[in-house]
Symmetry: C2
């Protein structure tokens, strides 16, 4: 039997299904994906998907909950609350960028979740992230690290949105930069620009 069931010792078929589900869902979206392809990629029969997850909707939901939880854990571990505010913000934005950079499938799945999905489930990532993130920006504002002329929540949103755009539209970014002869930007250089943006330094020239 060793060559028939070598990789997944029995109950790990569940994990194989979840991973295959993430892959296929991320590639084709909810309506574009098929249970047959997921089953084939996971190396199991199609019926097993229904046995474990109840159906396509359930599988989609569990896959989503899984990547959200993983992201939460990663961010909680990555950001040290005892850091000074400026270093804290830098660490948070860098972790945010790095995580999605290292998990492009999960990133794409989340893009799908914005539009597709069985019943547009309100993704609850706002709660945790918003609370801690805004608090961090608030502290940084208090100590004068970021600009004073906007609510800290707005500064957080601004940072997150440009990083998200950076992740899914590097082509357009490169196009826009190329028209003035500027070449590509490293992730680190980009992050510095984002930080400068919310810090508000660099007064206009004379």
């Amino acid at each position: 039997m060793s060559e028939l069931c070598p990789v997944y010792p029995l109950v790990d078929a569940r994990n194989a299904i979840l991973e295959a589900g993430l892959t296929v869902f991320a590639a084709d979206g909810f309506h574009g994906a098929t249970m047959r392809e997921i089953a084939q990629k996971a190396g199991v029969s199609q019926g097993l998907l229904h046995h474990h997850f109840g159906g396509k909707d359930g599988l989609w939901r569990i896959v989503g909950e899984r990547i959200t939880a993983d992201f939460m854990t990663y961010m909680a571990d990555a950001v040290d609350a005892d850091l000074p505010a400026d270093e804290g913000i830098r660490a948070m934005l860098r972790s945010y960028l790095n995580y999605w950079k290292e998990h492009p499938t999960a990133f794409r799945f989340n893009l799908w979740r914005l539009l597709d999905g069985p019943r547009s489930e309100r993704v609850a990532r706002s709660e945790h992230i918003a609370r801690h993130g805004v608090a961090l920006f608030q502290k940084a504002q208090d100590v004068g690290f970021i600009r004073q002329d906007m609510p800290p929540g707005l500064a957080l949103i601004f940072s997150g949105s440009v990083i998200q755009f950076w992740l899914h539209s590097q082509v357009e970014v490169r196009d826009a930069l190329a028209t003035t002869g500027d070449d590509g930007l490293s992730d680190e250089a980009f992050l510095e620009h984002v930080l400068n943006l919310v810090r508000g330094v660099s007064a206009p020239a004379t």
Copy 2:
């Protein structure tokens, strides 16, 4: 016959199909939409869709080209090239925000286009917009209206991405703002924040 064909004098069935296609595609995406629903919403038979557009792929493509062209025309008309750089940028960002605000269906279709679609067609909106937009930001930078510490193309991308996020995630924005007691933001107030962002004023407090 007047009550059988009152609205669309013959060839205008084509327009009815395109409008219904935009509506259904925007709501359900390419794979989620069905030719039957589009045909029903347009008030024509399903066969006519194939007759005019060759198939689902063709209809999706034409719908996309249509809204892109409309957006291009709108932006070209809205931005006066003779305006001083600061007013020009303000007018461009305001037009950008207003257009998508007034065309939520087209906006959602474009979100779908990021992910879905028959074969991920490279959307060519970069070309025109990037060229004129970057030039405008370059000019504004030369006269000292926007910050000097980043390429003008990057400033343009930053502005566009936060406006896009503002358009499709007002819920998350409100959540982030609410955690510090800040209430809702008007579009105008939001635009001012974006302008301040790329202007780089408001040095940190002591």
